[in-house]
Symmetry: C3
Subunit: 151 residues, 3 copies
């Protein structure tokens, strides 16, 4: 739960620095989804159905955002280094914390503490979304070419 809370806050840091309106709008929708995701995980087995918002439909929505954003830019052919813009770096930080949350949710599923597989799929796709959002924000901040990991 803590990692999900941290991920939401890191996404907030990204949102506060976003220069592309499109990106900020997507981030706020993701933050709303994470809020519901946390509510579902925090709920007891008896009332979990009442809290379920994240389903296959939300994962499909997430994937459609990734496709839409990817189509608008040239995807880098090699590993990039975060830091070409404040918003992009905050999105990279969000991505790494989302991955920490993903490992935690995978463990909960494995231990049968939760049973909604879509939560894990959502977080898995969310790190990809953070990556394309990072590329968009770097461009919106004027970075022409991403800084590559290998030279």
């Amino acid at each position: 739960m803590g990692a999900l809370d941290e991920a939401t806050a890191a996404l907030g840091l990204a949102r506060a620095n976003c220069r592309a309106r499109q990106c900020a709008d997507i981030v706020v929708m993701v933050q709303r989804d994470l809020y519901h995701l946390m509510a579902e995980i925090a709920s007891t087995t008896e009332n979990v159905a009442r809290f379920r918002v994240i389903d296959a439909g939300r994962v499909t929505w997430l994937e459609s955002q990734i496709d839409m954003l990817s189509a608008q830019i040239e995807m880098p052919k090699d590993f990039i280094l975060p830091g070409d813009s404040p918003a992009g770096a905050a999105l990279a930080l969000s991505r790494t914390i989302v991955r920490r949350a993903e490992r935690y949710v995978a463990r909960l599923l494995h231990e049968n503490a939760i049973e909604n597989q879509e939560l894990l799929r959502y977080l898995n796709r969310l790190s990809s979304l953070c990556f394309v959002l990072e590329l968009h924000e770097d461009q919106a901040w004027g970075s022409e070419k991403p800084t590559l990991a290998k030279v």
Copy 2:
């Protein structure tokens, strides 16, 4: 200890972005308290008394800051999403890391590795302080209404 160090750094990120002088002044006092809190946890049983600074009086001070700041603003009636300002988002991030540190200190107390209960109370109240500071900073940055988790 690591989580406390991370919390202090995240509070630094907040402080560097604060627009309300009142908030920055409170954050620096909290950072000083966390410095003493870490020194106490790092000390051995023999010399712990020499490092003790965080006591019921510091918790009372913290609570008075929460009350003072809460009285100045309208408290939101629903869950809010971090990201309405850079300082507010950094305070939200600080809050989530403080909660991680709180779980760690709770474990140390439970295992009798430390015995000063006020350390846990301080961290518990600190996450509430981070929340009201976030609301203040969002306002100081010109956000008129907090972004709500539910629409």
Copy 3:
């Protein structure tokens, strides 16, 4: 691995806020080193040699950067509090996450999951580098005296 990824992202947040060109250039070289460090840790025992980039030479380079940066400024005589500039605070956050990664790599070495001792030495020196970079950036942002932990 996650902690190393988080450290790279936090360094990105620092880099995006750097005002001293010298600091940004050093950070990007460190991010490249961390990329190779992660590749080495992720590799299997059979192909690890192919991924080895971090060696005693890279640690010496890191130490020379610390010496060079330290010689340019007055080192504070007491503990400082992060938050005198956005870049400085992001460097402090990076330092605390690097230390988390360092504990993780120390465990891997202890469990013989990896054998390259230079990875640990690199991370150990990296937190010192983050500290001097923080002092430099605070100055580059116009902070005349560091905020001290004790008053």
